[in-house]
C-alpha cells in the first residue's frame, strides 16, 4: 500500500519536477531536452504500477490536504482514471521526444519556457486523471487550461494572442459559469463530491433537474468541445504542433471527455441516467456534433484545422458513449480514449513532421509529396485507418463497442450516424494520402531530414496496430469502470 502511494506521488510530481528543473537544466540544451522523455518514462512506470493495482481491484489513494469540512484535496484512482493516466503519461514520452525534434528543427524561440509549461500541462492532466473527487478534478481542470495558455500563444503574434483569448474565454468562461455551479450543486445536494462506483445522485436530486445538471456538466466542460462550444479547439491549432499533438489531441481534450465520463459513471450512475432518460438530448447533440464537424473537416484545407475538426467529432463519440448510459457504450467510450489518442497523435505528429521537413501546411500542397516522406505518410495512413475504425487497428474495437452499445440502448439511428461518420472520415483523412501518392507534384520542396520528428509517429502508428491485438489491460479497466465483471 505504501509503495502504491509513492507511485502516485511520483506520477504526479515527476512532470512537475521536469517543469521546475527545466529552467535550471537549460544551461545545457541536451539536459533540458532529455528531461521531458526521462520524466515521461518515470511517470509512465508509476502509471503502470497504479493501473495494475486498480486491475487488482484496489483504489490507490493519496490524501493531500483538508481545505474545509467536506472539501478535501485527495487523489483516488478509478479504473477510468487509470486508463487516462496511462494514455497521458505513455504518449508524453514520445511527444517529448518529438517536441525536441520539432522545436529544434523549426528554430522556435523560448524553448525553455515551452518545455516547462508543457510539463506543467502533463502534471495537470495526470492530476485530473487520478483526482479523488470533483473538487480536485475541477482544480486541475482549471490549471490545465491556464498552463496551456502560454503554449497556445507561444508564437506571441497577434494571431496567437487572439487565439489565446478565444481559448481562454471559452474554456474559463464555461467552467466558471456552468461547471462550477454544477459541482457546487452536487456538493450542496449530496454533501459529498467523491466518486463512487454506481454513482450516488439517485434519490438526492429532483429527477426533472437531472437533464439540467447534466447540461451544466456537458457544456461546462468546454474541453470536451461539444458543439456549439468547440471553437477554441481549431483556434488552439496556432500553437506549435507538439502542443496540438499531445495536448489538443490527448491530454486537454481527453481531460474534458474524461470529466464527463467520470461524472456520468461515478456521480450520476449509468443506471440512474438510463432510467431517467435525462441524457437523451445529449445523444442527439453528440450525433449532430459527430456529423457536422466531419462535414466541416472536409472543407478545411489546412491539415491541422482538418485534424482539429476530426478531433471534435471523435470526442463526441466518447461523450455519446457516456450519454447512451449502457455498460457496453461506456466501455467503448473508455476504450475510445485510448484508441483515438494513439491514432490522432500519430496524425498530428505527421502534420508537424511535414511542416518541419518540407514547410507544407495545406492538404492541397501535398500533391505528389508521398515519395519524399514515405515513413511519415505510412504512419499517417495507419493513424487514419485507426481513426476510421478499420481492422486490424485499435480504433475498430472502440467503434464497434460503441455501435453495440447504441444498439443495446435501442438507438438504431445512432448506428447510422456512426456509419456515416466513418464514411466521412474515409473521405477527409484519406484525401491527403491519395493526393500525396496519386497526383503529380505541383510544388517542389527541399525536404530536410529530422529523424526526431519521424520516429515518434512511426512508433505511435505501431502502437495503434498493437492496440488491436493487445488491449486486454485497457479492456479490463474499461469493464471495471462500467461496473461490469
Amino acid at each position: 500500500m505504501m509503495s502504491l502511494q509513492i507511485a502516485m506521488l511520483i506520477g504526479l510530481l515527476a512532470p512537475l519536477m521536469v517543469a521546475v528543473l527545466t529552467p535550471f537544466l537549460a544551461v545545457r540544451h541536451v539536459w533540458r531536452d532529455a528531461a521531458g522523455p526521462v520524466g515521461g518514462v518515470i511517470t509512465f512506470i508509476a502509471a503502470v504500477e497504479v493501473a495494475l493495482a486498480v486491475l487488482d481491484g484496489e483504489t490507490p489513494r493519496l490524501f493531500v490536504a483538508q481545505i474545509a469540512e467536506g472539501l478535501a484535496i485527495e487523489f483516488a484512482v478509478t479504473p477510468l482514471g487509470a486508463i487516462f493516466g496511462l494514455v497521458a503519461s505513455g504518449l508524453w514520452i514520445l511527444a517529448a521526444l518529438y517536441s525536441v525534434g520539432y522545436m529544434r528543427g523549426n528554430h522556435e524561440k523560448h524553448q525553455t519556457r515551452f518545455a516547462a509549461f508543457y510539463a506543467v500541462a502533463v502534471h495537470a492532466a495526470m492530476a485530473v486523471a487520478w483526482s479523488g473527487n470533483l473538487l480536485v478534478l475541477f482544480i486541475f481542470y482549471e490549471i490545465l487550461t491556464f498552463s496551456t495558455y502560454p503554449l497556445v500563444t507561444h508564437k506571441e503574434s497577434a494571431v496567437a494572442r487572439n487565439a489565446g483569448r478565444l481559448y481562454m474565454s471559452i474554456l474559463v468562461g464555461t467552467s466558471v459559469i456552468l461547471l462550477l455551479p454544477a459541482v457546487v450543486w452536487v456538493w450542496f445536494n449530496t454533501g459529498t463530491l467523491d466518486f463512487r462506483p454506481g454513482g450516488y445522485l439517485e434519490g438526492q436530486i429532483d429527477p426533472t433537474m437531472v437533464p439540467i445538471l447534466l447540461g451544466l456538466f456537458a457544456f461546462g466542460v468546454g474541453k470536451a468541445a461539444l458543439m456549439p462550444i468547440h471553437r477554441w479547439l481549431p483556434a488552439a491549432m496556432v500553437a506549435p504542433t507538439p502542443v496540438s499533438a499531445l495536448l489538443h489531441a490527448v491530454a486537454v481534450v481527453k481531460a474534458g471527455v474524461f470529466t464527463i465520463l467520470t461524472v456520468v459513471v461515478y456521480v450520476f450512475g449509468i443506471d440512474f441516467l438510463a432510467k431517467t432518460g435525462a441524457s437523451q438530448w445529449l445523444i442527439w447533440l453528440t450525433a449532430f456534433t459527430i456529423l457536422a464537424s466531419s462535414v466541416v473537416a472536409i472543407s478545411k484545407d489546412d491539415i491541422k484545422a482538418r485534424l482539429a475538426y476530426s478531433t471534435i467529432s471523435q470526442l463526441s463519440y466518447i461523450v455519446l458513449g457516456a450519454a447512451l448510459a449502457s455498460q457496453m457504450a461506456v466501455q467503448g467510450a473508455a476504450l475510445h480514449i485510448v484508441m483515438h489518442a494513439a491514432g490522432k497523435i500519430t496524425l498530428f505528429f505527421c502534420a508537424g513532421a511535414i511542416y518541419v521537413q518540407a514547410h507544407l501546411t495545406k492538404v492541397s500542397d501535398l500533391d505528389g509529396q508521398g515519395r519524399e516522406m514515405p515513413w511519415v505518410f505510412a504512419a499517417f495512413f495507419v493513424g487514419a485507418l485507426s481513426i476510421i475504425g478499420i481492422p486490424p487497428l485499435g480504433g475498430s474495437w472502440s467503434k464497434f463497442m460503441l455501435m453495440v452499445g447504441a444498439a443495446d440502448a435501442g438507438y438504431i439511428a445512432i448506428l447510422v450516424v456512426l456509419g456515416l461518420s466513418s464514411l466521412l472520415n474515409v473521405f477527409y483523412l484519406l484525401e491527403p494520402l491519395s493526393r500525396a501518392f496519386f497526383r503529380e507534384k505541383i510544388k517542389s520542396v527541399e525536404v530536410k531530414r529530422h529523424p526526431l520528428v519521424v520516429i515518434p509517429p512511426v512508433m505511435t502508428a505501431l502502437i495503434s496496430v498493437a492496440l488491436f491485438f493487445y488491449n486486454e489491460t485497457f479492456l479490463d479497466l474499461a469493464i471495471l469502470a462500467s461496473g461490469g465483471r
Partner: protein
C-alpha cells in the same frame, strides 16, 4: 497581575493604543520613528485581536463596560465571534499594510509630513476597530467620524504626486459626511422611540415600539448612512477616486480594512439592532440590499473592464467585490452571511496584496500605474509582478487560492436560496472579472517592454510584505478550515443574537 490587567482590558486597549500613539507620532518629523510607532501600534492591535479571537472563537461573548458604567447607560464594547473575526482580518491586514508602507510612501509623501501621516494612519485604524466593537449606536457615529476624517487626511496627502487627490479627498469628506449624518439622524429617531442607544437594548425594546413609522424611518436612515460608508452601489461614487488618487500605502490600508468595518456594521444593524422587526428587515434585504449588491457587482466589473488606470481599475473591482459581500448579507441565511464573512477575510487579503503590488510598481517606475506604463513590467520587476499575479488569480477565484473558497461558499449559499437568476448573474460577472485581469496580465507579461528602458531594482522591503500576502492567498486557498469555521460561527452568533434577543 500585569498580564491579567491587560487581558481584561483588551477591547479598550485595541482602540486606545492606536489612538494614543497617533499624537505621539505626529510630534516627530523623523520618518523612521513615525513608521516604528505605527508598526508598534498596528502590531499590538493585531496581537490583541488574535487574543480576543482565541477567547471568543467558540461562541463566547466579551462585554466591556467603558469607565465601569453599566449598559445600557454606559458605553459597552462587545467582542464576540463575529466582531473578533472582523478585527483579526482588519488588524492583520492593517499591520501588513504598515509593513509595506515604509517604502511605499518614500516618493509620495514629504519627509516632514511623515509623522503626521502615520498619526492619521493610526487614527484610521483605531477608529475602525472601535467601530467594530462598540455596542452603542451613538458611539459608533463618533468612531465613524474619527476614521473618516483621518482617511480624508490620508487621501489628501496624495496631492504631493497628483493634485486630484485633493478633490478625491474632498468628495469623500462630503459624501462621507452625508452618510454619517444620515446615520445619526436615524439614531435620533430610534433614540426618541426606544429611549436607548445600546444596540442590544434597542433590539429588545423595538418590538414594543414597532408599528410606529418613526422606527422605520430611523431604520431607513441608519441603513442608508452605512451603505454610503460601505460603498455599496450606487452610493459608492466616492470610492474609485479616493482609492486611486490616495498614496499607494493608503489605498492598501483603505482597500483592505475600511469598507470591511462598514460592512460588518451593516450586518450588525440588520441582524442585531433591528432583529425585533424581522419582517421589515427581510423586505429591506430582498428589495434593497440584494438588488443593489448585484448592481454593484455588475457596474464595478464593467467599469473595471473599460478602465485604463490600474489603481482605478482595482477600485472599481472593489465595488464589485463589496457587492459580493453585500449579497451574502442580503440573502440573509446563515450560509450566505458566513459566505460574506469568508469573503470579508479573503477580499482583504486579495486587495491588500494587489494595491501593495501596484504601490511597488509605482515606487519603482516613479509614475502612475496605467496599462501603458506597466507594459513588460513582468520581466522588469519579476518578484513583485509574480506576487501580483497570485493575488490577481485569487481575485478571479482560481482554485487553490483564497478567492476560490469565497466563490465556492457564496455559490453554495445562493443555490441554497434557489435564486437562480442571481446565481447566473454572479457567475457571469465572475467570469467577466477574468477579462480585466487578463487585460493587465497580457500587458505585464506578453507585450515586450519598449527598448532602452532603465533597469529597475526590486526592493525587498517592498516585495516581502507583498509576498507574505500573496502566500496568504494560497495558504487560505488550501487550508480554509479556520476561516470557514470562524465565519460560520460568526454568522451563527449574529443570528443567535437576532433570534434570542441577545444577552
Amino acid at each position: 497581575m500585569m498580564g491579567s490587567v491587560i487581558f481584561t482590558n483588551l477591547p479598550a486597549l485595541l482602540v486606545v493604543v492606536p489612538l494614543l500613539l497617533a499624537p505621539i507620532s505626529a510630534l516627530f518629523t523623523f520618518a523612521g520613528l513615525g513608521w516604528a510607532i505605527a508598526i508598534v501600534g498596528t502590531g499590538a492591535s493585531f496581537i490583541f485581536a488574535l487574543l480576543l479571537q482565541s477567547v471568543t472563537e467558540n461562541g463566547a461573548r466579551i462585554s466591556y463596560h467603558l469607565g465601569n458604567w453599566e449598559p445600557p447607560w454606559g458605553i459597552e464594547f462587545v467582542v464576540d465571534s463575529a466582531s473578533s473575526l472582523t478585527l483579526v482580518v482588519m488588524s492583520g491586514l492593517g499591520f501588513l499594510a504598515t509593513l509595506a508602507a515604509r517604502q511605499l510612501v518614500k516618493n509620495e509623501i514629504a519627509e516632514k509630513d511623515i509623522g503626521k501621516f502615520y498619526a492619521a494612519w493610526l487614527l484610521v485604524s483605531g477608529g475602525l476597530f472601535g467601530l467594530v466593537m462598540t455596542a452603542d449606536a451613538f458611539n459608533l457615529f463618533v468612531f465613524l467620524e474619527i476614521s473618516a476624517l483621518a482617511s480624508v487626511i490620508l487621501i489628501g496627502m496624495g496631492a504631493g504626486t497628483d493634485r486630484r487627490a485633493l478633490i478625491a479627498g474632498y468628495h469623500y469628506l462630503v459624501i462621507g459626511a452625508v452618510g454619517a449624518t444620515f446615520y445619526v439622524i436615524g439614531v435620533g429617531f430610534i433614540y426618541a422611540m426606544t429611549g436607548s442607544l445600546n444596540m442590544v437594548d434597542i433590539a429588545n425594546r423595538i418590538p414594543d415600539a414597532s408599528g410606529s413609522a418613526a422606527i422605520y424611518v430611523g431604520f431607513g436612515f441608519m441603513v442608508a448612512g452605512i451603505l454610503v460608508k460601505a460603498a455599496i452601489f450606487p452610493v459608492h461614487i466616492w470610492l474609485p477616486a479616493a482609492y486611486s488618487y490616495a498614496p499607494s500605502a493608503v489605498s492598501t490600508l483603505l482597500a483592505s480594512i475600511a469598507t470591511k468595518a462598514a460592512l460588518y456594521v451593516l450586518a450588525r444593524i440588520l441582524f442585531t439592532v433591528f432583529s425585533g422587526m424581522p419582517e421589515v428587515v427581510t423586505i429591506a434585504l430582498s428589495n434593497v440590499i440584494v438588488p443593489l449588491a448585484v448592481g454593484g457587482v455588475f457596474v464595478g466589473t464593467i467599469m473595471a473592464i473599460y478602465e485604463a488606470d490600474v489603481k482605478k481599475l482595482f477600485a472599481h473591482s472593489s465595488v464589485a467585490q463589496i457587492g459580493y459581500i453585500a449579497l451574502g448579507l442580503g440573502l440573509g441565511t446563515p450560509a450566505s452571511v458566513s459566505a460574506a464573512f469568508i469573503h470579508i477575510g479573503n477580499h482583504a487579503l486579495i486587495k491588500g496584496g494587489i494595491f501593495m503590488a501596484i504601490g511597488g510598481f509605482v515606487a519603482a517606475l516613479g509614475a502612475r500605474a496605467s496599462l501603458d506604463s506597466l507594459i513588460g513590467i513582468g520581466r522588469r520587476l519579476p518578484l513583485t509582478a509574480t506576487a501580483f499575479v497570485i493575488c490577481g488569480l485569487s481575485l478571479a477565484g482560481l482554485p487553490l487560492t483564497a478567492g476560490f473558497i469565497s466563490k465556492l461558499y457564496l455559490v453554495r449559499a445562493i443555490l441554497e436560496t434557489e435564486s437562480y437568476v442571481i446565481l447566473s448573474l454572479v457567475l457571469i460577472s465572475s467570469a467577466l472579472s477574468v477579462v480585466y485581469l487578463w487585460k493587465i496580465m497580457e500587458v505585464m507579461w506578453m507585450q515586450p517592454a519598449p527598448a532602452r528602458l532603465p533597469k529597475l531594482v526590486e526592493n525587498p522591503a517592498i516585495y516581502l510584505p507583498i509576498w507574505i500576502v500573496a502566500l496568504g492567498n494560497i495558504w487560505f486557498g488550501i487550508d480554509a478550515n479556520w476561516l470557514v469555521s470562524a465565519s460560520q460561527m460568526a454568522a451563527q452568533i449574529l443570528f443567535d443574537l437576532s433570534s434570542g434577543g441577545g444577552a
